[in-house]
Structures are given as structure tokens and as C-alpha cells.
């Protein structure tokens, strides 16, 4: 019984200790990512998507300012939005950045770069279904689409 008590005390102490640590050492800066993404999903539209893009830009910038590794997936997601807006150069730059920060993302990033390049070289936009259209589809998941 006594050892149980001690175990409980130790684990409680461990939990408190962990909270103490996490407050001191920051691992990532995620800004208001979840909020802006949630709102972009819930109220799909140009405005909410622009806000989310702004949130992503802010994460990339703040991470740099604070000398932190950009959180996994953020550069890629921002690149994906640029690709949807036909900004191929910026999109590929961001996919490369993700690959550099996280070499384990190479397979997916190469795939995205390939898709984006293919799309850019394709003059007929109606032929292409990959990146841009997907963003359009994404907007309608929530059910109620305003547009």
C-alpha cells in the first residue's frame, strides 16, 4: 500500500515536473494554427482561407525569429496554398524548405513538386485535377458551403 502511495506521489511529481519543463523550453511555435484552420473549414471562403494562409506565414516567420524549427507540415501546407493560387515558384520553394527541414518528408515533397511543375507546364487548366482543384473540393467538406 505504502509503495502504491509512493508511486502515486512520484508520478504526480513527474507530471508537475514535466509541466514545469514544457513551460520553459519551447519546441515549436504554432501560432493560432488550429483556430484559423478550424474557421477556414467551418466557414469556407476566400476570406477565411486567406486568414489561415496568414496564420501559416506567421508561423514560418515567428519560428525563424525565435530560432525554432518550423513545425512539421507547415511549410508544405503553405506551399500547397500557393500552388492552388498558381504561384508555382513560391510553392516549390516551400516544398523544398519542408524537405530540407525534415528529410523524412522527401517522398511526399518530391511528389508535390512534381505535381506542381506538371500543372504549371500544362497550359490547359481544365485538364488538370491535381493541386488546385483539390483546394476547391476541400472547401465543401464541412457540408454547408456558402459559395
Amino acid at each position: 500500500m505504502k509503495s502504491n502511495m509512493i508511486k502515486i506521489m512520484v508520478s504526480l511529481a513527474a507530471v508537475l515536473f514535466c509541466f514545469g519543463c514544457s513551460a520553459k523550453k519551447q519546441m515549436y511555435y504554432w501560432g493560432n494554427y488550429s483556430d484559423s484552420l478550424y474557421h477556414a473549414k467551418k466557414n469556407p471562403g476566400v476570406e477565411s482561407l486567406a486568414k489561415h494562409k496568414e496564420a501559416l506565414e506567421n508561423i514560418v516567420e515567428e519560428s525563424k525569429n525565435r530560432n525554432l524549427r518550423t513545425p512539421p507540415g507547415v511549410c508544405a501546407e503553405l506551399g500547397y496554398l500557393y500552388a492552388a493560387n498558381n504561384n508555382t515558384k513560391k510553392a516549390i520553394e516551400l516544398f523544398q524548405m519542408e524537405k530540407q527541414t525534415y528529410p523524412e518528408s522527401t517522398i511526399l515533397m518530391e511528389r508535390l513538386i512534381m505535381q506542381t511543375e506538371k500543372r504549371a507546364s500544362d497550359d490547359d487548366p481544365s485538364k488538370n485535377t491535381s493541386v488546385g482543384k483539390s483546394i476547391e473540393q476541400e472547401k465543401s467538406i464541412g457540408g454547408s458551403t456558402n459559395e
Binding site: 519546441m27 488550429s34 478550424y38 467551418k42 512539421p72 507540415g73 501546407e77 523524412e104 483539390s134
Partner: protein
Amino acid sequence: MSKSKKRMPVLGIFLAVAVIVAGCAPKATTKGVEFPLMYEETPLTILILPPMNESTAAEAKQYYATTVQEVLSYWGYYVFPYEITSDILKMEGIYDAELIRSVPLAKFREYFGADAVLYTTIKKWDLQYMVLASNLTVSIDEELKSTKTDRTLWTYNGTVVVDLSGGNTGGGLAGLIVKAVITAANSAMADYVPYARQANRRALSSFPFGKYHSDFKKDQSMQFIDQTPEKEKNK
């Protein structure tokens, strides 16, 4: 003799208290004991698959999906951008959670470079509004599977109860009134992103750390406590 007799009630009380405390406290176990395969395979990249929503709350899937990537990243893994990967899966015609289950795991490795995939089923997503306390009760089943060996590396089946009443505002009647006002305001806001994040975080408390965490491969002996309340377990 008389001395030990005297000590008996004290010892008795101590034992009774210890039994009560031990009985109430959820049992603690360690990550290394429960999930040895996580340390054997040490996956680096995790693909979060769209959750299956069995709860009555239609918005549960979105709350879960928009918070899980951020939360999981703090465990030190490369987490694939969910917005992109779920999009790709949808374009491949496998957005449906039932269909996803039928995809061979090696495919996720081949296509995305994922070492492991995370399956989630949301069983319950309940909001309870009360005057002095509001709760969000989330029951989820999660399973992390290796794309190399098809083995289950980690599981979580449990319930997390998040208190929505805005934290501790101090005692006394004034404190209670303030708390009631905060509860009402919180419920009216209907913005549960932070709570969804908290539920996710708590469900992951037994998840071993990955490469980018300072405790990578060092947390085998770390204890965790089952978050499921007793009354939920007995259901």
C-alpha cells in the same frame, strides 16, 4: 503489548486511507512495459488518417482533425500535413474511413513515406452544459500501426473529460458566481478548438516520444495514468 495496541487504530486509519487512495487512483503503468514495439521500431514519420466518427456530434471529426497534427508534433514526430494528405486520399477515392481500413499499410509507406499510420475512431463527443460546470467528454479509440511490419505499435481506448468552466476562480460565493458566468460565456462561445486540443493531448499521454523530442528513447520508464473515469469504464 499495550503500546502496539495503541498504535493499532492509527495503523488501521492509515491503511484505510491508503486503500481508499489506491482504490480511487487510476492504475499507473509505464510506456516501455505497455508499448515495447514503439521502442523496437522507433517510427519517425506518422500519417494521420481521417477519423471515423461514430459519435452523434457531426462537428467532432473536424474538431479532431484540425487539432491533432499540432498536438502530435509536440511528441517529436514528423507528422505529415493532414490538410494535404487527407486531400490526396480523397482524390484517390479513399476518404471514407471504412475504405481507408482496407488499404494495405505498405501503400502508405510507398506513397507518403510513412513509417506508421494513426487510425482514430471517435466514439463519443458530448457536451454537457451545467450552471457551475460544463464538460466535454470525448471517447476515442486510437491505433498506431507500422507500415513496415503491420504490427500495432500503440493503442489508446479511453475517455477524456475536459472541464470547460474556465479554471479556478477562487473560493467563496463570489468565486462561484464568477465561475458560473465564465461557464455560461464559454458555452455560448461554442468554440471548442482549445478543448479539442486538450482532449487530444490527454489521449496521447502514453505515447512514446519521437526523434525531435529531447526524451526520445529515454521515456520507457515514464509512467502514465489511464484517463478514463471509473463510471465510463463500467459502462
